[in-house]
Symmetry: C2
Subunit: 416 residues, 2 copies
């Protein structure tokens, strides 16, 4: 089966918003084993939308349209797609009740034009919207499937996961069962070379790495009849991969490295604190983005100025004078200083040159030292990052998150 | 003139990357007065790419393709587009020298297949790539224009701005000259109602507001023959808008609120420091994302735990016990405490409930207090934000940046 994605909305054509819906749908479809050959963006225009839909119906088995299900006259998706499929729109009483209930819950009166959102194609499967007013719909006719979803990502994504995905899976004889391993600290090429035999020889499940901004995703995909069969097929492969790659595997599925770190710290009842120079708060910001971070982080400091490094962390003036603020010695004293000051189990010190200014002959833009202190001792990693200020800062944070994760693992080993 | 955007790349169809190129191109074209009716995404597949290009050439004056200019066999854009336009590919010696020079500069040897990147359509305008190896090209033939750009945003964006934009402007008898005002602290609907007469009556320049995630962009657009004429037409309108809207206008063009704040602090020689609870370092992170932030921020703290609020900021135990960590009183003491501890001109205190946990009957998720202390005194703003944890934290930071900006403006007024 193959699908085509049509994103409807003039705001997309004007570049006012990013088309995250198309990425979400494309990724989910690809994970489900459905090929996507085209994505189209078209505005709130009856004729052009109609032409795009007719073109898509000629070349794809499934057409998924997002957006244009709103209550205003320029929301045309339902009208146009139903017409293309030869279906009339009728009032769907259940949806009308849902919409009325939605407005009651937020204490607003329903506007008359919201009734339009309950007009649905006659012979369609109606998809409930638990996060907004516009229901979705699936029309199945003449060997084609047309799916309509609301545009806002917080409505589209749960509707797709809860209603569309089970529907699509029921249409297929087999399912694709995937396990994703998250990797940091080894490049895509090295991962591929270590798993070369597996990638070349395995047919079911298959193993494929994908590079991310920071790190690598490794997907193990089994073609199978049931989830149980999928687990049975992928589990031994996952185990073998972890044996080969070791502790560069930090997490599973969509887990970020900060989520993996917070999970690990919480499991072991440990706390963390950081002293940040070039990352200026972003490291603490990434940790505290994880719900439940308050259990593992009590305090953290941004010590941009040398005076702040001395005051909060006890970095010695002599160290700063002899080696500079961006040095292995300063990173070490920062990590140890914040660990002591915050009485944390893990102390992280980050100092570097994010640019564009501040570089010298022996200390280029992108040079970053990351110190990680625990009761097992202190390690300092020296890295040289490429890219602009934003990218260098973000990557420095990810390396620091990984350094923290390794410090926790080392502590656990020492305890054994 | 109207244009169609074709994004080429299987990684887009698989949902592995977000199509930021399409948004960038769409926005720039819209600002230049060129309509976009369709955007298409197609994979690295000769037949489907060719069909998409032929279809686009039928319905658009300009076709802009991005991606697929790399050195590997699956990079097909140049071959396919040149074929569609009836142009042959020939070696472009100047581009070959550029590519060789690029590799010399980074100290790598050029691979043989990089030569492919210097094969260009015979009668084309060649666009130099200052940030990578793939040159771009413009083919003009039979009343149609085909533009090919490299996929990586850090190559595509400067190439578009430096080479394509001047080319497109030269094709048009008139230009669109735009000024953008950045607004925070007034909703889109209120901005529109205050500027209603202007928006309805003005024909040249036109005035239009656009909502952003946080704040509003207001675009003044003049249709004119030259930049000078554009300035002459828009300047009085801009002045009038600023009179009507007052100090909610914080900046110009693409300037973010953190850039405006750092600029303002630097102009006045002031420093800032923050004590963050629910935003957990993100506020300092946003400020330090601006190059030159080290001139205005020496230190900043994340005080998640109550003990940290007392230790670093001198928040009184009694205040925390009587009013709670999320309260006007605590925000005030945090702002004043960090101002004193860091010897900063402006002290910001942020405390709130980012969720999903931590709420109580009278303190819902999204409740945030922002304190701003300066020598003129301390103000505390109470806001209730909607959305998930990430959105609440981000919005809280933006409100705090605005509070800091207003504190600087108030100080300046006090000085008069």
């Amino acid at each position: 089966m193959n699908a085509e994605i049509i994103s409807v909305g003039t705001e997309l054509l004007l570049g006012e918003i990013l088309n995250t819906d198309a990425q979400f749908l494309a990724r989910r479809l690809s994970e489900t084993g459905i090929d996507v050959y085209y994505q189209t963006v078209v505005g709130d225009n009856r004729q052009r939308l109609s032409e795009s839909v007719r073109c898509a119906l000629e070349r794809a088995d499934i057409v998924i349209a997002s957006g244009g299900l709103g209550p205003t006259p320029d929301d045309l998706t339902k009208e146009v797609l139903s017409e293309c499929m030869g279906e009339e729109l009728v009032m769907h009483e259940e949806s009308l009740e849902e919409i009325k209930g939605y407005f009651r819950a937020i204490g607003h009166e329903m506007a008359e034009n919201n009734k339009k959102q309950a007009m649905m194609p006659k012979n369609a499967i109606i998809l409930k919207n638990n996060n907004g007013t516009a229901p979705g719909a699936i029309i199945e006719k003449n060997g084609k499937i047309v799916i309509m979803l609301p545009g806002p990502p917080n409505e589209l994504e749960p509707m797709f996961n809860e209603s569309v995905l089970p529907y699509l899976k029921s249409k297929s004889e087999y399912i694709l069962y995937s396990r994703v391993l998250q990797i940091f600290g080894m490049g895509e090429a090295m991962v591929a070379s270590k798993l070369e035999d597996m990638m070349n020889e395995y047919e079911n499940p298959t193993v494929a790495p994908y590079a991310k901004t920071a790190g690598v995703r490794l997907r193990i995909t089994a073609k199978c009849k049931s989830e149980e069969e999928g687990i049975r097929l992928t589990e031994p492969v996952e185990k073998k991969i972890k044996e080969i790659l070791g502790d560069v595997v930090y997490g599973y599925g969509d887990e970020t490295i900060q989520e993996a770190l917070v999970r690990l710290l919480a499991e072991k009842g440990l706390t963390i604190s950081a002293a940040e120079s070039c990352t200026g708060g972003c490291f603490a910001g990434m940790i505290t983005d994880v719900a439940g971070a308050s259990g593992v982080l009590n305090e953290s400091v941004v010590t941009y100025a040398n005076s702040a490094k001395m005051k909060y962390l006890g970095v010695r003036e002599d160290t700063l004078a002899r080696f500079g603020a961006v040095s292995e010695q300063t990173a070490k004293e920062m990590a140890e200083g914040i660990r002591k000051a915050a009485r944390a189990d893990i102390g992280i010190g980050i100092t570097g040159i994010a640019g564009p200014g501040g570089a010298s002959a022996d200390k280029p833009v992108g040079l970053v030292y990351i110190g990680a202190a625990s009761k097992s001792g202190t390690t300092v990693k020296r890295i040289t990052l490429k890219g602009n200020r934003e990218k260098i800062r973000h990557q420095a944070c990810v390396y620091a998150l990984d350094a923290a994760r390794r410090a926790v693992l080392d502590m656990a080993q020492t305890d054994c």
